[in-house]
Structure formats: C-alpha cells, structure tokens
C-alpha cells in the first residue's frame, strides 16, 4: 500500500507514493529530548530545531535538532559563556534569513517580550544565539501563547497572554529592520497559517470565538499596511 507504483530505470527506482492521511510512529535515534510541551519546532533545511518548552514546573532553554532524513536527535551544546535566551515556554519562532527568530514566551515567573535569533543554517556546533535589539520604542507587551507567522520578512504576532490578560493586538516585527509595528486590534488566535500574502488565524482565542479569519496585507516599500480583516 505504501508504494503503488515502482518503475525501474537503470539503477534507479522511482516511487510514486499515494499514501495519504497515514499516521506512523517512527523510531528515532540519538539524544532524544525529555518530555516537553509548549516548545517551538522550526524547520531548517529538513532539520527540526526544537527550542524551549518544559514539563510541569520545569522550563527549558535547550535546543535539540532532529534530522528528519536520518531520524536522529542531537542536542546543541553552546559555550558556557555564550549569551542565550532564558528558559521559556509558549514562545514563538519563525525561520528567516538563516536564523530562527524567537519572540516572547514565559519563564514561569513572568512573561517575556525579548527577541532572539539562533543562527541555524550552519552545522550544529556553530549555532549561535544573539539578542535582537529592537529599534524604536514600540514593542509588544510581554506575552506567551500568542501566534507568530512569517509573511515575507514580517513576523506577525497575534494575541497571546501574560497570564492575567489575554491580548488581541497585532504586531508586525520587521525582521529586516528589527522594528515593531503595531496594528489596530482585530483578533487573536492560538494557531495560524500563512500562505503567500494572506494570513489566516484559526481560533480559538482565549476570549473570542473559533471563527477563522483571514488577514491580508500588502507591502509598499517595506511598509506594512493592513488592508482588511474579513471574518
């Protein structure tokens, strides 16, 4: 069933797989991360970079890389004196320009709004954290459980919570200029997807409904402007 068609051509076999909607539970090798939730998993060149998360009262600041080709985990070891983000959960991450951009989350005692990059398009031993200094005074308040979606060079952050209050504001972080742009309040969600220029937020938000909303935007000379939400 896995392989429906097999064509022999010289020394190559070509497979056309029609398997769909199939679950599998693969065996993986290497240094498997501990039980973890509320982490981020970012795809970088067929490798999944897992950062942060936690279990129970424990919060992580570790980075693991899963090679999806060889199905092997590897923990990334950083120099002891290298700067790195604090432990956190419920943060978000996007991959842009060879770096994983991490925003926000919470460390168990407070919510965060710092931005970090992890150089990821390199061998594991050369991965490096760097704190991003945001230009200007505008910054989203500290938060976790938000969503972040990369649309071109913009990291769109929607909603979230600081543990007391649920937010519904939208922030665009220009990763090229490292500055935030605030947008008017429109909605929030826990999960999101982006396709080309359109961003779809799928609830449920903490205080709203579960209605899918689509957020379109256009760019003019790097300036983000919201054309509309429609819901």
């Amino acid at each position: 069933m896995d392989i429906l068609t097999c064509v022999f051509w010289l020394t190559e076999f070509f497979f056309f797989s029609l398997e769909t909607m199939q679950w599998s539970h693969p065996e993986v090798q290497g240094e498997i991360p501990p039980p973890c939730r509320a982490h981020t998993a970012t795809l970088v060149d067929r490798k999944i970079v897992v950062f942060g998360g936690g279990e129970g009262p424990v919060y992580y600041d570790t980075v693991y890389v899963l090679d999806t080709v060889h199905r092997r985990w590897q923990k990334v070891e950083f120099p002891a004196d290298a700067q790195h983000p604090t432990t956190r959960r419920a943060h978000t991450a996007v991959y842009y320009d060879g770096k994983i951009w991490v925003f926000g989350g919470g460390n168990g005692s407070q919510a965060l709004n710092d931005v970090w990059t992890l150089t990821a398009n390199c061998p594991i031993e050369k991965m490096k954290w760097a704190k991003v200094e945001i230009q200007g005074n505008k910054q989203p308040s500290a938060r976790g459980y938000h969503t972040a979606t990369l649309v071109r060079n913009i990291m769109i952050v929607v909603g979230g919570s600081d543990g007391r209050e649920c937010f519904s504001d939208i922030w665009c972080l220009n990763l090229g200029k490292a500055c935030h742009v605030s947008l008017r309040m429109l909605g929030q969600g826990y999960s999101s997807v982006a396709s080309r220029h359109r961003y779809t937020s799928l609830g449920p938000g903490a205080t709203r409904d579960n209605t899918p909303s689509t957020f379109s935007q256009r760019y003019t000379s790097g300036i983000v402007s919201v054309h509309h939400w429609w819901s």
Partner: protein, 280 residues
C-alpha cells in the same frame, strides 16, 4: 464548537444543526443536505437542475423563500453558507456553486449589512412556513453561490419561461436571491412558502479590492486517517511540516508530557521519489 454567534434576532432564523464530523457543516433535519462541504470536481460551475414537470424557477424559488435578505448585521459568514450543495428536496432543484476564488469585481456588489453567523446564510423558514401553497413545508433549502450564478440562473430561468430579473428587484442585494412578489398563480407549487435568504456572494466586510479566498478550502472536515495512530491526546505539542509530512513532537495530556514523535502523511503533495541503488 459554536456554529455561529447568536447575538442578533436574525440569528434565530438559522437551521444549522451541530454535526460531529464538521463543525461548519450544515445539516438539514430532513436529510436534504448530505455531504455539504464536499464538491465533486465536475461541479466546477453552476449546475441547476429543475425537476421534470416543475414550473419553478429562480423566481418561484425566491418567492417560495420570501425575502429575508436585508437588514442583517455585519459579521462572520461561515463557508458552509456559500459552498454547500443543497438538494432541493422534493422539488428536485439543485443549486451548486462554482469553486475557486472569484473576481474582485464581485466585491462591489456587497450588501450593506451582513450576517454574523452560519445561521444567517442558511435559507430558513419564516413567515407562512407551514405550507402556504408550496406544499413542501421546510423540505427545501436552497443555497446559491455567486460567480456565474447570476448568469447561469438567468439563463436557466429563461429556459423555464420565467425571468430572473425579478429576483434581483426590490431590496434584494446582488448577494442574495429573494423575491417578495408572488407567483402568478399565487403559489409556487414546488417550493415552500418559507422565508429564506439566499446569498450569492460571501461577505468581505472590510474588503473592496481583494480576491475572495477559495472558501472551498476553508471547511473543517475530519480526515480519514489510518496507520499507527497516536495512543494519547496531546496539546501544546509542535507540528512541523516537512514536505507533505507533519512531524509531531511532544505535547502533554492529563497524564503528563510526551517525548515521542509522530508522523502524519498528509498526502498533500504526492510526488515521485527516487531510490538510488548500487549494482553488484
């Protein structure tokens, strides 16, 4: 999962029932809607079928359902309202929708006020619903989508000898089909005398110049999965899509956190792969 908000009296007009398989799937109690969100590829354009011997048309359809097309609040329009395929019950009328995005020009035809919930967009029963000369009660629900709908409807209704022009008269918006006049005979024998609002275009409340999303892709439906399935619930996990395979790691349930890895092949991009073998 709510199907729509009910913060308006107009919401009471809806007749959606909650379904297990699809939160936004319309379900008609008499079974006139079967698998609403799904469309066969052959239904890429309007397909309006009028039962043999039926004298109904767009006009009679509109008359049958009355005019409940105006003065509805802004808000959400669930995709079910615009993509459902509804068989016309005993009348044999079937109105289906074109798929894919529509041209921006359609946005200019937006009505002033719009519904907030799924129920708003469902043809519903209203005044005089209990018969009223239609004879079919609430057995019929019609959902019409825009696109080439108007032209198609006009064409088809011309063939039936009745004008679709009337359906766009009065307060009816281009998004809706509805008519407040009566059948020449005073009745529409194959349609209920229920009030209904039939929307031709999905709402884009804030858009004037944007393409309409392919709402056919915006339905929830339960996937027919198979294979070695996860044996525990999970939340706060991560899902990373590698090609068409979702790599799912971690998460937790009421028992604690997990460190296992699951793969789910979406099959979204069935493609050729090659395996190099060495000779000898």
């Amino acid at each position: 999962m709510p199907l729509g908000r009910s913060d308006s009296p107009a919401e009471t007009l809806g007749d959606y029932s909650r379904t297990e398989g699809g939160p936004l799937t319309p379900k008609i109690s008499n079974g006139s809607i079967t698998s609403a969100p799904y469309f066969s590829p052959r239904l890429q354009h309007q397909n309006i079928r009028v039962a043999t011997g039926s004298n109904n048309s767009l006009r009679s359809l509109s008359m049958a359902h009355g005019d409940r097309i105006d003065q509805v609040p802004h808000g959400h329009t669930p995709p079910t309202s615009s993509t459902g395929t509804v068989s016309g019950g005993t009348t044999g009328q079937t109105v289906t929708r074109p798929s894919g995005p529509r041209h921006i020009a359609s946005a200019t035809l937006r009505p002033e006020k719009q519904p907030r919930s799924a129920s708003d967009t469902t043809p519903v029963r209203g005044e005089g619903d209990s018969g009223g000369g239609m004879g079919n009660g609430d057995a019929e629900r019609e959902q019409v989508r825009e696109g080439k709908t108007n032209n198609a409807l006009t064409h088809r209704t011309s063939r039936t000898g009745l004008s679709a022009r009337a359906s766009r008269s009065g307060r009816a918006t281009p998004h809706t089909l509805g008519h407040s006049s009566t059948h020449p005979n005073g009745t529409s024998p194959h349609l209920p005398s229920s009030s209904a609002r039939v929307r031709l275009l999905p709402y884009l409340p804030h858009s004037k110049d944007s393409e309409v999303a392919p709402t056919v892709q915006m339905y929830w439906s339960k996937a027919p999965v198979w294979g070695t399935m996860p044996n525990h619930g999970m939340r706060a996990h991560s899902v990373t899509l590698v090609d068409s395979v979702a790599w799912i790691f971690g998460g937790c349930d009421e028992r604690g956190c997990w460190k296992d890895l699951w793969l789910f092949n979406t099959g979204a991009s069935a493609s050729w792969t090659s395996l190099h073998v060495s000779s000898g």
